[in-house]
């Protein structure tokens, strides 16, 4: 299926990546090429096949619901691009 410029813009928005206008058409071509190659999956008979979501068939292990780590804001914030005291500074979200 051909991926057009409008689809690239929509997907880039969903992925929260600002793609410059000059990249939209080249990306549409590249993604169309990749998806055309992927289309061959339609040939495979997958009737009644269970999707495989993990390489190992195991049930997710459970552990005690207790705090194992925490109470160390310095470690949590040590890589923050911007901080104020023990808080991350982020752009305003609500008006």
């Amino acid at each position: 299926m051909a991926i057009d410029a409008a689809t690239v813009r929509k997907v880039a928005r969903l992925a929260r990546i600002a793609e410059p206008e000059a990249r939209i058409d080249p990306l549409a071509r590249e993604l169309t090429g990749i998806m055309a190659w992927i289309e061959q999956l339609a040939e495979v008979d997958v009737e009644g096949v269970e999707p495989m979501t993990s390489a190992v068939s195991m049930t997710a292990p459970l552990r005690e619901d207790v705090v194992t780590e925490g109470g160390d804001p310095e470690r949590v914030l040590s890589n923050a691009p911007r901080r104020a005291g023990d808080f991350f500074v982020v752009p305003k979200v609500v008006e």
Partner: protein
């Protein structure tokens, strides 16, 4: 001093054990080798002071007879493993100067066993690539060159820094990761040994995530035995990774040198792909002959869904990547480019931080997971993945292991496959099936092509059967007698 860096890991451990050499001497020799090899661009961060400090501590442990199984051995660490207090970038601008406050489980086990860290190794950005050209630090240059040709070649990817460093004698071994072939293809391109163990054998905790259902850590080393020694230390159950296998770790090095007589080895007919180099085909035949001579029975098997593995991978891996990489939003760590509002900040930060290949994969992943396409692409790919895994289960009803080439060609020149993403993806044609099925796979150097470049053979085993791969890999290594090293030009 140059003799020190020619030792294998096994030989170095023996020399350290008998106190013929100290870790400080050995580490010093590697630090000098790394400094002299900067044109290879294999290291993105050298940590010589930390290395010498760790080496001296190791020498103290040796003196007081408290040495661990890897004590004093200098290693390189792929820059996808978080290292406490040491910058970890995943080869991406978006992590900037990210400095973890914790240590990945795999590396913490290496330090527990006494190993010494020389520094962090270059890689494709977020391990997405087969040539190391997507790294924000620029590509690694292979220590290998074609005969009479100075054109820079790729060491492969994504673990290109790991493979190049081991091949060039810049470390005794290196950690690496493999999502679609990123340990085995670079190992094949550089004449080194690389093993991707069974999914869940090594903890993923503290390893920067690419595609969580496929990512697996493993070592790149100079010999099969060295790889076994390293994997021994890297493996084991970790409660911090919910997909970590609670399985006993056998004595891997003990499998090297064991007889392979009577084993049944499958040769999958679908791996004879169109356009494969005749040299690769001849190497494969040679490998078959070696194992037959060692007493194995060779059986042709069929893996009928092989040709669908790469297209399925290029849905599953980008889908998981688009979800995993959503965390890079410029709020809590990494690069932030301020915008007019929150969304604008997200979009600008991610646009500036991610490279073109990573963006391309995030966009594909977002597309195949988006409303209206999920069933047609993502769900179908997961069903094809099951078909591929079932092919292996069927084959392993008849044989003990499989033998294939590792990659469809020898190393190519930097820039050669850069224009066409699909051409680059085809590098993983023989390796990606193994990730989809979660099986162990190992690449062993088996010979040189007409231009003097290394070629590798791949062994694939049943789940948790790495030991058998070490026995078979040892048999191939012995028969091949592979010892060439790249002629030093740097």
């Amino acid at each position: 001093m140059s003799g020190l860096t020619d030792l294998t890991l096994r030989q170095a451990l023996d020399a350290l054990g008998t106190r013929k050499i100290s870790s400080e001497e050995l580490t010093g020799a590697y630090i000098a080798a790394i400094e002299a090899a900067r044109p290879l661009n294999a290291f993105v961060l050298e940590t010589p002071e930390k290395a010498l400090e760790m080496a001296r501590a190791s020498d103290h442990r040796r003196a007081s007879a408290e040495a661990g199984p890897l004590d004093g051995v200098p290693l390189g660490i792929k820059d996808l493993f978080c290292t406490e207090g040491v910058r970890t970038t995943a080869g991406s601008r978006i992590l900037g100067t990210f400095t973890p406050t914790y240590e990945s489980t795999v590396t913490s086990q290496l330090w527990r066993d006494g190993a010494v860290m020389l520094g962090k190794l270059n890689l494709d950005e977020f391990a997405m690539g087969s040539s190391n050209e997507t790294s924000a630090f620029g590509p690694v240059v292979s220590p290998w060159r074609r005969q009479g040709d100075a054109a820079p070649l790729t060491p492969g990817g994504s673990s290109g820094g790991s493979a190049a460093a081991v091949a060039a004698g810049l470390c005794l071994g290196a950690t690496a990761t493999d999502t679609g072939g990123s340990i085995r293809q670079p190992a094949a391109f550089t004449g080194t040994v690389g093993i991707k163990p069974t999914y869940g054998r090594c903890s993923r905790w503290g390893v920067v995530a690419f595609a969580s259902s496929l990512d697996q850590a493993g070592p790149i080393a100079r010999t099969v035995e060295d790889a076994a020694i390293l994997l021994q230390s890297m493996s084991g159950h970790d409660p911090k990774d919910s997909t970590s296998l609670n399985a006993e770790v056998p004595d891997f090095p003990a499998f090297v040198g064991k007889s392979v007589k009577g084993l049944r080895i499958g040769v999958p007919k679908e791996y004879r792909v169109e356009g494969m180099s005749p040299e690769i085909d001849a190497l494969w035949e040679q490998g078959i002959a070696w194992l037959r001579d060692a007493g194995c029975e060779i059986v042709e098997v069929s893996l009928p869904h092989t040709r669908y593995a790469l297209p399925a991978y290029y849905i599953v891996a980008p889908a998981e990547a688009s979800s995993n990489l959503a965390r890079y939003d410029g709020m809590r760590y990494g690069l932030r480019v301020e915008g007019g509002n929150l969304t604008d900040t997200y979009e600008k930060s991610r646009a500036a931080g991610f490279g073109e290949e990573v963006k391309r994969r995030i966009l594909i992943g977002t597309y195949v997971l988006s409303a209206g396409y999920y069933d047609a692409y993502y769900l179908r790919a997961l069903k094809v993945r099951r078909r591929i895994a079932d092919d292996f289960t069927e084959a392993f009803g008849k044989v003990d292991a499989l033998l294939t080439p590792t990659a469809p060609s020898a190393a190519f020149a930097l820039g050669e496959n850069a224009e066409d993403p699909v051409a680059m993806y085809l590098n993983d044609i023989f390796t990606v099936t193994v990730n989809l099925a979660g099986l162990p796979g190992m690449s062993v150097p088996a010979g040189l092509d007409a231009q003097g470049l290394p070629l590798g053979l791949q062994l694939i085993g049943r789940p948790l059967d790495e030991g058998l791969l070490f026995s078979l890999g040892g048999a191939i290594e012995k028969a091949a007698g592979f010892s060439p090293k790249p002629a030093r030009w740097w």
